[in-house]
């Protein structure tokens, strides 16, 4: 191993001649002196610089890099003349590749907009394709029950529905309670405390029940559908199914979507009941209303139409959550990081969709009444 003192200086001799400058490098041209070498080579020149390496004892990769770099940058020209065996060895040991062009050049604003528009168009087309395939396969499975994967359906129903009972009940209970408290605070001022029952019942059954259930299901099950399908996509399991002649839509998508459509209205009904119960507790223990009076008032406030609108919302939410989860799952190309990204994107998209759809249905039902 060659040791070079840190204080080493570059040994050289610079000669000017009619054909340009000649730089004679001497001794050990290694890392400690490369900075000096690079600075020397970077000095602006007007004529060709010829490097004489015949007195070089040893050269290392840093020195080679400095020479190649100077060669690339030189305006007036740079060329290597005579070489010593040591220099020649170093210079033949390393190869200078063709500079790779950076893979993506930055796009202009308009190019970026155009590309984004094309991406969006392709995404919409893909989404509609998957939605159409899944819906068609679902109808086919309902018409021909033999094509339904009953085991998977039951498993999914259990996962999406039964295992969500506690969290849905807890959250909607608290929401019902909160709504009732807020209402009580206002209505007490007018001595109209009994109307807390109306307000809680209507807002829970029409809005809060379906909405909170949908948001919880999107967070729990929409994300898990996206993550599961995405992982299967990444680990070639979906390709595996296709090659075995098993339609992944029928095998994976339909049971999940049907389970969502079955379970969501049920969860919503639970949410409605528990939410009203939260309001009931506020009415009875905080406002000192008679329990029977609260229930009677709540039931007269509700119309059968409210239950219908709640169920329609629940079904629409379920369909959207399922399709969005599937779409983001199937879209994954690449590795593990992409799975995480798409899962997050699917939850954001689901919740966005739920809010928009809820708003739309509320307006439509308001007009219908």
């Amino acid at each position: 191993m060659l040791r070079v003192p840190l204080s080493a200086r570059l040994a050289y001799r610079l000669e000017s001649g009619p054909g340009g400058d000649v730089l004679h490098l001497q001794g050990e041209v290694t890392r400690p002196v490369v900075r000096e070498l690079a600075e020397l080579l970077a000095e602006p020149r007007t004529t060709l610089l010829t490097l004489d390496l015949s007195e070089v004892v040893v050269m290392d990769s840093a020195a080679v890099a400095a020479l190649v770099n100077a060669w690339r940058r030189s305006r007036a020209g740079l060329v290597v003349g005579a070489t010593s065996p040591g220099a020649e060895q170093a210079l033949t040991l390393f190869r200078v590749g063709v500079e790779a062009v950076p893979p993506t050049k930055p796009m202009s604003l308009f190019e970026g907009l155009g590309a984004a528009a094309f991406d969006a168009k392709a995404a919409v087309r893909d989404f509609l394709q998957i939605a159409a395939d899944t819906t068609f396969a679902m109808v086919a499975a309902i018409v021909h029950p033999r094509r339904m994967r009953w085991n998977a359906l039951i498993e999914q129903g259990h996962d999406i529905g039964a295992r969500a009972l506690r969290i849905v009940a807890l959250i909607t209970f608290l929401v019902g309670l909160t709504v009732a408290f807020q209402a009580a605070y206002q209505l007490q001022q007018f001595g109209a405390a009994i109307y807390v029952a109306d307000l809680t019942a209507v807002s829970v059954v029409r809005e809060m029940g379906p909405l909170m259930t949908a948001i919880l299901v999107a967070g729990r099950s929409g994300s898990s559908i996206a993550a599961e399908i995405a992982t299967m996509q990444v680990s070639e399991e979906i390709d595996g199914l296709r090659v075995m002649g098993i339609d992944p839509i029928e095998f994976l998508a339909v049971p999940r979507l049907v389970a969502l459509l079955l379970v969501m209205p049920l969860l919503t009904v639970l949410a409605d009941v528990v939410g009203i119960f939260g309001g009931f507790l506020v009415g009875v223990y905080y406002l000192d209303l008679a329990g029977q009076a609260f229930l009677d008032e709540a039931l007269t406030a509700l119309k059968p139409f409210d239950l219908f609108t709640g169920s329609v919302k629940a079904l629409a939410f379920a369909y959207g959550i399922g399709m969005i989860g599937l779409f983001y799952g199937i879209r994954v190309h690449g590795g593990a990081s992409e799975v995480g990204r798409m899962t997050t994107a699917s939850v954001v998209a689901s919740i966005f969709y739920i809010i928009i759809a809820d708003c739309f249905f509320s307006v439509v039902f308001y007009i219908l009444l």
């Binding site: 060709l48 490097l51 080679v64 020479l67 190649v68 060669w71 690339r72 030189s74 305006r75 007036a76 020209g77 740079l78 060329v79 290597v80 070489t83 020649e88 170093a90 210079l91 033949t92 040991l93 390393f94 190869r95 200078v96 590749g97 063709v98 992982t231 299967m232 680990s235 070639e236 399991e237 390709d239 595996g240 199914l241 296709r242 090659v243 075995m244 002649g245 098993i246």
Partner: protein, 265 residues
């Protein structure tokens, strides 16, 4: 084409956007042979495989699988052809939520009307062939790399395929396990008369298993023949491949000295 060929690929061109991945590739696989498609990363060998098993449709050219034009078929006919092939994916592609037994039983449940008892028996037979009976009830995540490959092999063989495609069978396996897998493949060929197509970059195992080799490079077939024929070729890229010389040595780049000898500018 004749009945002695299990797979015929003619003038296959594959493009992703503007990038041409395969540029006019021909491949014939005779029945009962072990055909190796050899190539480095990015040579297009995985794309070729995906066309042969129907996961991708060619931009140009045709694929005949067992005498049928794969990409002209739809619905039940297509599934019927696909049922006559088995695919051993690089990662196994076993369903992570099902045990080894259930994974092997899956194609049988999906595509046959065999009674449950027969399916169970058949699964046991296949697991015995790949010597995995002891791990039948384990989940894929509980298996070692070699066991996972064997389980995937058992599933690929569930429907007694005529052609077995293997994508990088030795990827991720130690040399010994990989050699065992090679022996297993040869045994399947000999015992069941299976046609086997192996796509790989591994030179180590092809000496043992390959009847004929197709060497892909840059989306083109640069050699096709028996291993001896291919190895004795003078083509610089082929020689480089078998001598394991880095591609950089082959094309483009020059030594620093050559570059510096030319005056810049």
């Amino acid at each position: 084409m004749t009945a002695s060929e299990a797979l015929v690929v003619r003038g296959l061109v594959a493009r992703y956007g503007e990038q041409t991945v395969l540029d006019g590739v021909d491949l014939e696989v005779r029945r009962g042979e072990v055909r190796v498609v050899l190539g480095g990363s990015g040579s297009g060998k995985s794309t070729l495989l995906k066309h042969c098993i129907g996961l991708l449709s060619p931009s140009q050219g045709d694929v005949w699988l067992l005498g049928q034009p794969l990409h002209g078929l739809e619905g039940a006919e297509r599934i019927a052809v696909l049922q006559r092939i088995g695919v051993l994916f690089q990662s196994g592609a076993l369903l992570g939520s099902l045990s080894v037994r259930e994974n092997v039983a899956l194609p049988l449940r999906e595509h046959t009307d065999l009674p449950e008892g027969v399916i169970g028996e058949l699964v046991s037979l296949k697991l015995e062939v790949v010597e995995l009976s002891h791990a039948a009830h384990q989940l894929p995540s509980e298996l070692s790399g070699g066991m996972r490959k064997r389980a995937a092999l058992a599933r690929a063989m569930a429907l007694d395929p005529d052609v077995l495609f293997c994508d990088e069978p030795s990827a991720g396996l130690d040399p010994l396990t990989s050699a065992e897998l090679d022996e297993l493949l040869l045994r399947l060929r000999d015992r069941f008369g299976m046609t086997i197509v192996v796509v790989t970059h591994e030179l180590m195992s092809i000496d043992r298993i390959a009847d004929r080799v197709l060497l892909l490079s840059g989306g083109k077939a640069i050699a096709d023949g028996t291993l001896e024929e291919v190895k004795s070729s003078d083509h610089p890229e082929i020689r480089a491949y078998f001598r394991r010389i880095a591609a950089g040595e082959m094309r483009g780049s020059a030594t620093a000295l050559t570059v510096l000898r030319q005056a810049s500018r």
